[in-house]
Protein backbone atom coordinates (compact mmCIF):
# COMPACT_ATOMS: atom_id res chain seq x y z
CA UNK A 1 0.00 0.00 0.00
CA UNK A 2 1.05 3.58 -0.55
CA UNK A 3 0.34 6.85 1.15
CA UNK A 4 -0.03 9.57 -1.45
CA UNK A 5 0.35 13.21 -0.41
CA UNK A 6 -0.59 15.87 -2.95
CA UNK A 7 -0.22 19.62 -2.54
CA UNK A 8 -2.45 21.54 -4.96
CA UNK A 9 -3.97 24.94 -5.63
CA UNK A 10 -7.04 25.47 -3.48
CA UNK A 11 -9.54 26.08 -6.26
CA UNK A 12 -8.56 22.74 -7.85
CA UNK A 13 -9.80 20.70 -4.90
CA UNK A 14 -13.19 20.04 -6.40
CA UNK A 15 -11.73 18.78 -9.69
CA UNK A 16 -9.15 16.60 -8.02
CA UNK A 17 -11.71 14.99 -5.78
CA UNK A 18 -13.94 14.21 -8.72
CA UNK A 19 -11.02 12.76 -10.65
CA UNK A 20 -10.12 10.50 -7.75
CA UNK A 21 -13.71 9.42 -7.31
CA UNK A 22 -13.84 8.51 -10.97
CA UNK A 23 -10.99 6.07 -10.57
CA UNK A 24 -12.77 4.51 -7.62
CA UNK A 25 -11.04 6.08 -4.65
CA UNK A 26 -13.47 6.11 -1.78
CA UNK A 27 -11.72 8.13 0.84
CA UNK A 28 -9.26 10.91 1.33
CA UNK A 29 -8.27 13.50 3.87
CA UNK A 30 -7.86 17.16 3.11
CA UNK A 31 -6.02 19.93 5.01
CA UNK A 32 -5.47 23.60 4.50
CA UNK A 33 -1.77 24.34 4.35
CA UNK A 34 0.57 27.07 3.25
CA UNK A 35 3.11 26.45 0.57
CA UNK A 36 6.51 27.93 -0.04
CA UNK A 37 8.09 27.33 -3.43
CA UNK A 38 8.89 28.88 -6.75
CA UNK A 39 5.54 30.64 -6.99
CA UNK A 40 5.73 34.14 -5.62
CA UNK A 41 2.99 35.48 -3.40
CA UNK A 42 0.79 38.48 -3.63
CA UNK A 43 1.81 41.69 -1.91
CA UNK A 44 -0.58 43.04 0.66
CA UNK A 45 -0.63 46.66 1.62
CA UNK A 46 -1.80 48.04 4.93
CA UNK A 47 -1.45 51.78 5.48
CA UNK A 48 1.54 51.99 3.26
CA UNK A 49 3.40 49.01 4.63
CA UNK A 50 3.82 46.25 2.12
CA UNK A 51 3.80 42.63 3.22
CA UNK A 52 4.91 40.13 0.62
CA UNK A 53 3.33 36.81 1.45
CA UNK A 54 5.63 34.04 0.34
CA UNK A 55 3.50 31.46 2.12
CA UNK A 56 0.62 30.80 -0.21
CA UNK A 57 -2.59 28.98 0.60
CA UNK A 58 -2.55 25.43 -0.71
CA UNK A 59 -4.60 22.31 -0.17
CA UNK A 60 -2.98 19.07 0.92
CA UNK A 61 -4.68 15.80 0.04
CA UNK A 62 -3.70 12.55 1.71
CA UNK A 63 -4.94 9.25 0.40
CA UNK A 64 -3.99 5.69 1.28
CA UNK A 65 -4.06 3.48 -1.79
CA UNK A 66 -3.52 -0.03 -2.88
CA UNK A 67 -0.26 -0.35 -4.85
CA UNK A 68 -1.91 -1.03 -8.16
CA UNK A 69 -3.93 2.15 -7.97
CA UNK A 70 -0.97 4.47 -7.51
CA UNK A 71 -0.18 5.10 -11.15
CA UNK A 72 -3.78 5.90 -11.94
CA UNK A 73 -4.08 8.19 -8.94
CA UNK A 74 -0.96 10.13 -9.83
CA UNK A 75 -2.26 10.61 -13.31
CA UNK A 76 -5.73 11.62 -12.15
CA UNK A 77 -4.39 14.18 -9.69
CA UNK A 78 -1.79 15.42 -12.13
CA UNK A 79 -4.38 16.10 -14.78
CA UNK A 80 -7.05 17.57 -12.58
CA UNK A 81 -4.68 19.88 -10.72
CA UNK A 82 -2.79 21.05 -13.77
CA UNK A 83 -2.95 24.68 -14.87
CA UNK A 84 0.54 24.94 -16.29
CA UNK A 85 1.32 27.94 -14.13
CA UNK A 86 3.99 27.93 -11.49
CA UNK A 87 2.64 26.75 -8.15
CA UNK A 88 0.57 23.84 -9.38
CA UNK A 89 2.06 21.70 -6.64
CA UNK A 90 3.49 18.27 -6.02
CA UNK A 91 2.56 14.66 -5.55
CA UNK A 92 4.56 12.56 -3.09
CA UNK A 93 4.30 8.79 -2.69
CA UNK A 94 5.27 7.23 0.64
CA UNK A 95 5.28 3.57 1.57
CA UNK A 96 2.40 2.49 3.80
CA UNK A 97 2.77 -0.55 6.00
CA UNK A 98 -0.57 -0.93 7.59
CA UNK A 99 -4.05 0.46 7.46
CA UNK A 100 -6.97 -0.04 9.84
CA UNK A 101 -10.63 0.91 9.55
CA UNK A 102 -11.63 1.89 13.06
CA UNK A 103 -15.32 1.12 12.64
CA UNK A 104 -14.80 -2.52 11.65
CA UNK A 105 -11.23 -3.34 12.65
CA UNK A 106 -10.59 -4.41 9.07
CA UNK A 107 -6.97 -4.04 8.08
CA UNK A 108 -4.87 -3.78 4.94
CA UNK A 109 -6.48 -3.30 1.55
CA UNK A 110 -9.93 -3.84 2.97
CA UNK A 111 -9.49 -0.82 5.18
CA UNK A 112 -8.76 1.70 2.44
Amino acid sequence: MKFVVAVIKPFKLHDVREALSRIGLQGLTVSEVKGFGRQKGHAELYRGTEYRLDLLPKIKIEAALDDDRVEQAIEAIGQAAHTGEVGDGKIFVLPLEQSVRIRTDETGKAAL
Binding site: E44, Y46, R47, G48, T49
Partner: protein
Amino acid sequence: MNERLFRAARLLAMCLPLCAPVAAAAAGEVDSGDTAWMLTATALVLLMTIPGLSLFYAGMVRSKNALSVMMQCFAITCLVSVLWAVYGYSLAFGDGGELQAILGSLEKSFLVGVDGIAPGGYRIPETVFIMFQLSFAVITPALIVGAFAERMKFSAMLWFVGLWLTLVYVPVAHWVWGGGWLGAFGVLDFAGGTVVHVNAGVAGLVTALVLGKRRGYPATPMMPHNMVFTLVGAGMLWVGWFGFNAGSALAADGIAGRAVLVTQLATAVAALVWMIVEWLDHGKPSALGIASGAVAGLVAITPASGYVGALGALVIGGSAALACFYAVTRAKPAFGYDDALDCFGVHGVGGIVGALAMGVFVVKSLGGVGLPDGVPIGWQVAKQVMGVAVTIIYDGLFTFLILKGIDGTIGLRVTDEQETAGLDIALHDERGYNL
Protein backbone atom coordinates in the same frame (compact mmCIF):
# COMPACT_ATOMS: atom_id res chain seq x y z
CA MET B 1 -17.82 82.06 34.03
CA ASN B 2 -17.27 79.25 31.62
CA GLU B 3 -15.42 80.77 28.72
CA ARG B 4 -15.96 78.01 26.23
CA LEU B 5 -19.64 78.01 26.67
CA PHE B 6 -19.76 81.74 26.76
CA ARG B 7 -17.79 82.00 23.60
CA ALA B 8 -19.91 79.50 21.79
CA ALA B 9 -22.98 81.35 22.93
CA ARG B 10 -21.49 84.61 21.79
CA LEU B 11 -20.60 83.33 18.38
CA LEU B 12 -24.02 81.91 18.10
CA ALA B 13 -25.77 85.11 18.90
CA MET B 14 -23.53 86.99 16.50
CA CYS B 15 -23.59 84.72 13.58
CA LEU B 16 -26.65 82.59 13.43
CA PRO B 17 -29.79 84.66 13.40
CA LEU B 18 -31.72 81.46 12.76
CA CYS B 19 -30.95 80.24 16.20
CA ALA B 20 -31.79 83.41 17.95
CA PRO B 21 -35.38 82.50 18.78
CA VAL B 22 -34.18 79.26 20.26
CA ALA B 23 -31.48 80.88 22.30
CA ALA B 24 -33.92 83.46 23.50
CA ALA B 25 -36.29 80.93 24.98
CA ALA B 26 -36.58 80.37 28.67
CA ALA B 27 -33.07 80.94 29.93
CA GLY B 28 -32.26 78.96 33.04
CA GLU B 29 -34.71 76.20 32.31
CA VAL B 30 -33.98 72.73 31.11
CA ASP B 31 -35.17 72.23 27.55
CA SER B 32 -36.37 68.72 26.80
CA GLY B 33 -35.23 68.84 23.17
CA ASP B 34 -31.71 69.94 23.97
CA THR B 35 -31.57 67.39 26.76
CA ALA B 36 -32.84 64.63 24.48
CA TRP B 37 -30.12 65.39 21.98
CA MET B 38 -27.36 65.59 24.59
CA LEU B 39 -28.38 62.27 26.16
CA THR B 40 -28.22 60.76 22.69
CA ALA B 41 -24.93 62.45 21.88
CA THR B 42 -23.43 61.04 25.05
CA ALA B 43 -24.53 57.53 24.12
CA LEU B 44 -23.04 58.06 20.66
CA VAL B 45 -19.68 59.14 22.06
CA LEU B 46 -19.63 56.12 24.35
CA LEU B 47 -20.40 54.01 21.27
CA MET B 48 -17.26 55.47 19.73
CA THR B 49 -15.03 54.13 22.51
CA ILE B 50 -16.70 50.83 23.28
CA PRO B 51 -17.40 49.10 21.00
CA GLY B 52 -16.23 51.41 18.16
CA LEU B 53 -12.63 52.28 18.87
CA SER B 54 -11.90 49.01 20.63
CA LEU B 55 -13.05 47.10 17.55
CA PHE B 56 -11.25 49.43 15.17
CA TYR B 57 -8.02 48.86 17.07
CA ALA B 58 -8.57 45.16 17.83
CA GLY B 59 -8.89 44.38 14.14
CA MET B 60 -5.58 46.05 13.37
CA VAL B 61 -3.43 44.18 15.86
CA ARG B 62 -2.35 40.57 15.59
CA SER B 63 -4.87 38.04 16.84
CA LYS B 64 -2.81 37.28 19.92
CA ASN B 65 -3.28 40.84 21.14
CA ALA B 66 -6.87 41.49 20.11
CA LEU B 67 -8.31 41.19 23.59
CA SER B 68 -5.58 43.24 25.17
CA VAL B 69 -6.45 46.40 23.23
CA MET B 70 -10.15 45.90 23.88
CA MET B 71 -9.44 45.34 27.55
CA GLN B 72 -7.40 48.53 27.61
CA CYS B 73 -10.28 50.49 26.10
CA PHE B 74 -12.71 49.00 28.62
CA ALA B 75 -10.44 49.63 31.58
CA ILE B 76 -9.78 53.20 30.48
CA THR B 77 -13.51 53.81 30.17
CA CYS B 78 -14.06 52.60 33.71
CA LEU B 79 -11.08 54.25 35.33
CA VAL B 80 -11.65 57.63 33.73
CA SER B 81 -15.37 57.54 34.58
CA VAL B 82 -14.56 57.15 38.25
CA LEU B 83 -11.78 59.74 38.28
CA TRP B 84 -14.00 62.17 36.42
CA ALA B 85 -16.66 61.87 39.09
CA VAL B 86 -14.19 62.06 41.94
CA TYR B 87 -12.24 65.15 40.84
CA GLY B 88 -11.80 65.35 37.09
CA TYR B 89 -14.98 67.19 36.22
CA SER B 90 -14.60 69.60 39.09
CA LEU B 91 -11.00 70.45 38.27
CA ALA B 92 -11.78 70.93 34.60
CA PHE B 93 -15.12 72.70 34.77
CA GLY B 94 -15.51 73.84 38.38
CA ASP B 95 -14.99 77.49 39.17
CA GLY B 96 -11.32 78.03 39.87
CA GLY B 97 -11.76 81.46 41.39
CA GLU B 98 -8.46 83.31 41.39
CA LEU B 99 -6.74 80.40 39.68
CA GLN B 100 -9.46 80.06 37.06
CA ALA B 101 -6.98 80.74 34.26
CA ILE B 102 -5.03 77.66 35.33
CA LEU B 103 -7.40 75.16 36.87
CA GLY B 104 -10.89 74.68 38.23
CA SER B 105 -11.59 73.76 41.81
CA LEU B 106 -12.60 70.76 43.88
CA GLU B 107 -15.98 72.20 44.84
CA LYS B 108 -17.84 69.69 42.69
CA SER B 109 -15.65 66.73 43.48
CA PHE B 110 -17.64 63.56 44.09
CA LEU B 111 -20.29 65.34 42.05
CA VAL B 112 -21.62 67.25 44.96
CA GLY B 113 -24.26 69.81 44.06
CA VAL B 114 -24.69 69.01 40.42
CA ASP B 115 -28.46 68.61 40.43
CA GLY B 116 -29.10 71.93 38.74
CA ILE B 117 -28.75 73.23 35.24
CA ALA B 118 -25.54 73.11 33.23
CA PRO B 119 -23.17 76.07 33.53
CA GLY B 120 -22.81 78.59 30.73
CA GLY B 121 -26.41 79.23 29.90
CA TYR B 122 -27.08 75.88 28.33
CA ARG B 123 -30.51 74.42 28.80
CA ILE B 124 -29.58 70.92 29.90
CA PRO B 125 -29.19 69.40 33.36
CA GLU B 126 -25.67 69.61 34.71
CA THR B 127 -25.68 65.82 35.07
CA VAL B 128 -26.00 65.54 31.31
CA PHE B 129 -23.23 68.08 30.77
CA ILE B 130 -20.98 66.09 33.11
CA MET B 131 -21.69 62.87 31.25
CA PHE B 132 -21.06 64.41 27.86
CA GLN B 133 -17.73 65.79 29.02
CA LEU B 134 -16.97 62.46 30.67
CA SER B 135 -17.37 60.69 27.35
CA PHE B 136 -14.68 63.01 25.93
CA ALA B 137 -12.38 62.41 28.85
CA VAL B 138 -12.80 58.67 28.24
CA ILE B 139 -12.08 58.56 24.54
CA THR B 140 -9.01 60.79 24.61
CA PRO B 141 -6.70 58.42 26.51
CA ALA B 142 -8.35 55.47 24.75
CA LEU B 143 -7.07 56.86 21.46
CA ILE B 144 -3.50 56.62 22.79
CA VAL B 145 -3.90 52.84 23.00
CA GLY B 146 -3.21 52.84 19.28
CA ALA B 147 0.33 54.05 19.89
CA PHE B 148 1.36 51.63 22.63
CA ALA B 149 -0.60 48.59 21.47
CA GLU B 150 0.91 45.11 21.68
CA ARG B 151 3.67 45.80 24.20
CA MET B 152 2.67 47.79 27.27
CA LYS B 153 2.08 46.28 30.69
CA PHE B 154 -1.52 46.46 31.76
CA SER B 155 -0.69 47.79 35.20
CA ALA B 156 1.59 50.45 33.71
CA MET B 157 -1.20 51.39 31.33
CA LEU B 158 -3.57 51.99 34.22
CA TRP B 159 -1.09 54.21 36.03
CA PHE B 160 -0.28 56.07 32.87
CA VAL B 161 -3.91 56.80 32.05
CA GLY B 162 -4.73 57.88 35.58
CA LEU B 163 -1.79 60.26 35.74
CA TRP B 164 -2.15 61.54 32.20
CA LEU B 165 -5.82 62.30 32.70
CA THR B 166 -5.03 64.23 35.83
CA LEU B 167 -1.91 66.05 34.74
CA VAL B 168 -2.60 66.59 31.07
CA TYR B 169 -6.20 66.13 29.97
CA VAL B 170 -7.87 67.92 32.87
CA PRO B 171 -5.73 71.07 32.69
CA VAL B 172 -5.82 71.31 28.91
CA ALA B 173 -9.60 70.83 28.88
CA HIS B 174 -9.84 73.56 31.52
CA TRP B 175 -7.63 75.95 29.59
CA VAL B 176 -9.59 75.61 26.38
CA TRP B 177 -13.15 74.86 27.49
CA GLY B 178 -13.39 75.31 31.20
CA GLY B 179 -12.70 79.02 31.47
CA GLY B 180 -8.92 78.82 31.39
CA TRP B 181 -6.37 80.99 29.69
CA LEU B 182 -6.31 79.48 26.21
CA GLY B 183 -10.03 79.92 25.79
CA ALA B 184 -9.83 83.42 27.20
CA PHE B 185 -7.05 84.15 24.79
CA GLY B 186 -9.38 83.28 21.95
CA VAL B 187 -8.31 79.80 20.89
CA LEU B 188 -11.32 78.14 19.28
CA ASP B 189 -11.88 74.41 19.49
CA PHE B 190 -15.43 73.41 18.78
CA ALA B 191 -15.36 69.72 19.61
CA GLY B 192 -11.87 68.84 20.62
CA GLY B 193 -9.24 69.27 17.92
CA THR B 194 -6.58 70.30 20.41
CA VAL B 195 -8.05 69.02 23.65
CA VAL B 196 -8.79 65.57 22.28
CA HIS B 197 -6.92 64.80 19.09
CA VAL B 198 -3.70 66.78 19.20
CA ASN B 199 -3.49 65.90 22.85
CA ALA B 200 -3.93 62.17 22.26
CA GLY B 201 -1.78 62.17 19.15
CA VAL B 202 1.21 63.83 20.76
CA ALA B 203 0.93 61.65 23.84
CA GLY B 204 0.83 58.69 21.48
CA LEU B 205 3.99 59.76 19.70
CA VAL B 206 5.86 60.24 22.95
CA THR B 207 4.63 56.90 24.25
CA ALA B 208 5.71 55.14 21.08
CA LEU B 209 9.16 56.70 21.37
CA VAL B 210 9.62 55.97 25.06
CA LEU B 211 8.28 52.42 24.86
CA GLY B 212 10.25 51.54 21.77
CA LYS B 213 9.31 49.34 18.89
CA ARG B 214 7.45 46.09 19.03
CA ARG B 215 9.77 43.07 18.85
CA GLY B 216 10.51 42.41 15.22
CA TYR B 217 9.13 45.70 13.93
CA PRO B 218 9.37 46.48 11.05
CA ALA B 219 10.94 43.27 9.69
CA THR B 220 8.25 40.83 10.83
CA PRO B 221 4.89 41.24 9.15
CA MET B 222 2.34 42.62 11.59
CA MET B 223 -0.75 42.66 9.50
CA PRO B 224 -4.20 43.53 10.82
CA HIS B 225 -5.70 40.23 11.90
CA ASN B 226 -9.32 41.07 11.15
CA MET B 227 -10.01 43.90 8.76
CA VAL B 228 -13.76 43.39 9.01
CA PHE B 229 -13.57 44.36 12.67
CA THR B 230 -11.55 47.42 11.75
CA LEU B 231 -14.08 48.53 9.16
CA VAL B 232 -17.01 47.94 11.49
CA GLY B 233 -15.18 49.91 14.13
CA ALA B 234 -14.57 52.71 11.65
CA GLY B 235 -18.27 52.74 10.82
CA MET B 236 -19.17 52.99 14.48
CA LEU B 237 -16.66 55.78 14.97
CA TRP B 238 -18.23 57.68 12.10
CA VAL B 239 -21.76 57.28 13.44
CA GLY B 240 -20.70 58.09 16.97
CA TRP B 241 -18.84 61.17 15.80
CA PHE B 242 -22.15 62.82 15.00
CA GLY B 243 -22.68 62.86 18.75
CA PHE B 244 -19.14 64.06 19.31
CA ASN B 245 -19.31 67.02 16.97
CA ALA B 246 -22.98 67.94 16.85
CA GLY B 247 -23.23 67.24 20.57
CA SER B 248 -20.61 69.89 21.13
CA ALA B 249 -23.27 72.46 20.25
CA LEU B 250 -24.75 71.41 23.60
CA ALA B 251 -28.16 71.98 22.05
CA ALA B 252 -30.33 70.62 19.26
CA ASP B 253 -30.20 73.66 17.06
CA GLY B 254 -28.77 75.06 13.86
CA ILE B 255 -25.22 74.84 15.13
CA ALA B 256 -25.65 71.16 15.71
CA GLY B 257 -27.14 70.83 12.26
CA ARG B 258 -24.22 72.64 10.71
CA ALA B 259 -21.79 70.50 12.68
CA VAL B 260 -23.30 67.25 11.48
CA LEU B 261 -23.39 68.38 7.88
CA VAL B 262 -19.80 69.58 7.70
CA THR B 263 -18.68 66.49 9.59
CA GLN B 264 -20.21 64.27 6.93
CA LEU B 265 -18.71 66.30 4.10
CA ALA B 266 -15.22 66.53 5.50
CA THR B 267 -15.20 62.82 6.27
CA ALA B 268 -16.44 61.83 2.86
CA VAL B 269 -13.92 64.01 1.09
CA ALA B 270 -11.07 62.85 3.27
CA ALA B 271 -11.91 59.21 2.64
CA LEU B 272 -12.09 59.77 -1.10
CA VAL B 273 -8.84 61.72 -1.16
CA TRP B 274 -7.00 59.03 0.78
CA MET B 275 -8.47 56.43 -1.57
CA ILE B 276 -7.38 58.31 -4.66
CA VAL B 277 -3.90 59.11 -3.38
CA GLU B 278 -3.37 55.49 -2.46
CA TRP B 279 -4.69 54.43 -5.83
CA LEU B 280 -2.19 56.70 -7.58
CA ASP B 281 0.62 55.91 -5.20
CA HIS B 282 0.29 52.16 -4.98
CA GLY B 283 -1.95 51.22 -7.87
CA LYS B 284 -4.92 50.03 -5.84
CA PRO B 285 -7.25 51.60 -3.32
CA SER B 286 -7.65 49.72 -0.07
CA ALA B 287 -10.37 49.31 2.51
CA LEU B 288 -8.03 50.24 5.33
CA GLY B 289 -7.10 53.29 3.29
CA ILE B 290 -10.63 54.55 2.86
CA ALA B 291 -11.36 53.93 6.53
CA SER B 292 -8.18 55.71 7.59
CA GLY B 293 -9.11 58.64 5.40
CA ALA B 294 -12.55 58.78 6.96
CA VAL B 295 -11.07 58.87 10.46
CA ALA B 296 -8.57 61.55 9.39
CA GLY B 297 -11.46 63.64 8.10
CA LEU B 298 -13.48 63.14 11.24
CA VAL B 299 -10.51 64.19 13.34
CA ALA B 300 -9.71 67.27 11.31
CA ILE B 301 -13.24 68.63 11.14
CA THR B 302 -13.70 68.21 14.88
CA PRO B 303 -12.32 71.58 16.02
CA ALA B 304 -14.03 73.31 13.11
CA SER B 305 -17.37 71.55 12.95
CA GLY B 306 -19.59 74.22 14.46
CA TYR B 307 -17.74 77.07 12.80
CA VAL B 308 -17.06 76.34 9.12
CA GLY B 309 -19.27 75.79 6.08
CA ALA B 310 -19.31 73.35 3.18
CA LEU B 311 -16.25 74.85 1.56
CA GLY B 312 -14.24 74.67 4.78
CA ALA B 313 -15.32 71.09 5.23
CA LEU B 314 -14.14 70.09 1.78
CA VAL B 315 -10.76 71.76 2.14
CA ILE B 316 -10.16 70.59 5.70
CA GLY B 317 -11.17 67.03 4.88
CA GLY B 318 -9.04 66.89 1.77
CA SER B 319 -5.93 68.38 3.28
CA ALA B 320 -6.18 66.28 6.41
CA ALA B 321 -6.29 63.15 4.27
CA LEU B 322 -3.19 64.21 2.39
CA ALA B 323 -1.29 65.19 5.51
CA CYS B 324 -2.19 62.02 7.38
CA PHE B 325 -1.51 59.81 4.38
CA TYR B 326 2.02 61.10 4.08
CA ALA B 327 2.57 61.10 7.82
CA VAL B 328 1.60 57.46 8.05
CA THR B 329 3.13 56.08 4.88
CA ARG B 330 6.24 58.25 4.58
CA ALA B 331 7.13 60.02 7.79
CA LYS B 332 6.61 57.07 10.11
CA PRO B 333 8.87 54.67 8.21
CA ALA B 334 11.38 57.44 7.62
CA PHE B 335 11.72 58.27 11.29
CA GLY B 336 11.28 54.67 12.29
CA TYR B 337 9.15 55.07 15.41
CA ASP B 338 6.55 52.40 16.01
CA ASP B 339 3.24 54.22 16.42
CA ALA B 340 1.53 50.87 16.06
CA LEU B 341 -1.93 51.94 14.93
CA ASP B 342 -1.08 55.51 13.92
CA CYS B 343 -2.42 57.41 16.84
CA PHE B 344 -0.11 60.31 16.07
CA GLY B 345 -0.22 59.94 12.30
CA VAL B 346 -4.01 60.24 12.20
CA HIS B 347 -5.14 61.98 15.39
CA GLY B 348 -2.13 64.19 15.98
CA VAL B 349 -1.60 65.28 12.40
CA GLY B 350 -5.30 65.46 11.55
CA GLY B 351 -6.01 67.43 14.70
CA ILE B 352 -3.31 69.96 13.89
CA VAL B 353 -4.54 70.42 10.33
CA GLY B 354 -8.10 70.97 11.55
CA ALA B 355 -7.22 73.29 14.40
CA LEU B 356 -5.19 75.56 12.13
CA ALA B 357 -7.36 75.48 9.02
CA MET B 358 -10.36 76.28 11.12
CA GLY B 359 -8.86 79.68 11.88
CA VAL B 360 -9.17 80.47 8.19
CA PHE B 361 -12.47 78.85 7.25
CA VAL B 362 -14.39 80.27 10.16
CA VAL B 363 -14.66 83.57 8.30
CA LYS B 364 -17.96 84.41 6.73
CA SER B 365 -16.67 84.91 3.23
CA LEU B 366 -15.52 81.29 3.22
CA GLY B 367 -18.86 80.02 4.46
CA GLY B 368 -18.07 79.98 8.16
CA VAL B 369 -20.03 81.49 11.01
CA GLY B 370 -17.66 84.44 11.16
CA LEU B 371 -15.04 85.50 13.63
CA PRO B 372 -15.83 87.31 16.87
CA ASP B 373 -16.08 91.03 16.29
CA GLY B 374 -12.91 92.70 15.24
CA VAL B 375 -10.63 89.68 15.21
CA PRO B 376 -8.72 89.62 11.92
CA ILE B 377 -8.19 86.25 10.31
CA GLY B 378 -4.41 86.30 10.67
CA TRP B 379 -4.77 86.92 14.35
CA GLN B 380 -7.18 84.04 14.74
CA VAL B 381 -4.77 81.72 12.92
CA ALA B 382 -2.03 82.86 15.25
CA LYS B 383 -4.22 82.05 18.22
CA GLN B 384 -4.86 78.62 16.78
CA VAL B 385 -1.12 78.07 16.31
CA MET B 386 -0.66 79.11 19.90
CA GLY B 387 -3.30 76.63 21.10
CA VAL B 388 -1.72 73.79 19.17
CA ALA B 389 1.83 74.69 20.20
CA VAL B 390 0.98 74.93 23.87
CA THR B 391 -0.76 71.59 23.75
CA ILE B 392 2.13 69.92 21.97
CA ILE B 393 4.74 71.24 24.35
CA TYR B 394 2.85 70.79 27.59
CA ASP B 395 1.47 67.40 26.63
CA GLY B 396 4.74 66.16 25.21
CA LEU B 397 6.67 67.14 28.30
CA PHE B 398 4.28 65.74 30.86
CA THR B 399 3.63 62.56 28.95
CA PHE B 400 7.36 62.01 28.87
CA LEU B 401 7.75 62.63 32.58
CA ILE B 402 4.86 60.36 33.50
CA LEU B 403 6.21 57.55 31.36
CA LYS B 404 9.69 57.87 32.74
CA GLY B 405 8.31 57.83 36.24
CA ILE B 406 6.39 54.64 35.61
CA ASP B 407 9.29 53.05 33.80
CA GLY B 408 11.56 53.75 36.72
CA THR B 409 9.20 52.17 39.20
CA ILE B 410 6.99 49.33 37.97
CA GLY B 411 8.25 49.27 34.39
CA LEU B 412 6.40 50.05 31.19
CA ARG B 413 6.95 47.10 28.96
CA VAL B 414 6.08 43.43 29.04
CA THR B 415 8.87 40.87 28.83
CA ASP B 416 9.98 39.48 25.51
CA GLU B 417 8.32 36.17 26.23
CA GLN B 418 5.07 37.87 27.03
CA GLU B 419 5.25 39.91 23.87
CA THR B 420 5.98 36.82 21.80
CA ALA B 421 3.20 34.83 23.39
CA GLY B 422 0.82 37.74 22.92
CA LEU B 423 -0.65 39.92 25.61
CA ASP B 424 -3.98 38.13 25.63
CA ILE B 425 -2.60 34.95 27.04
CA ALA B 426 0.36 36.50 28.83
CA LEU B 427 -1.47 39.23 30.72
CA HIS B 428 -5.07 38.11 30.78
CA ASP B 429 -5.02 34.31 30.54
CA GLU B 430 -7.47 34.45 27.70
CA ARG B 431 -7.43 33.97 23.99
CA GLY B 432 -9.61 35.82 21.53
CA TYR B 433 -10.64 32.84 19.48
CA ASN B 434 -11.29 29.19 20.21
CA LEU B 435 -12.71 28.07 16.89
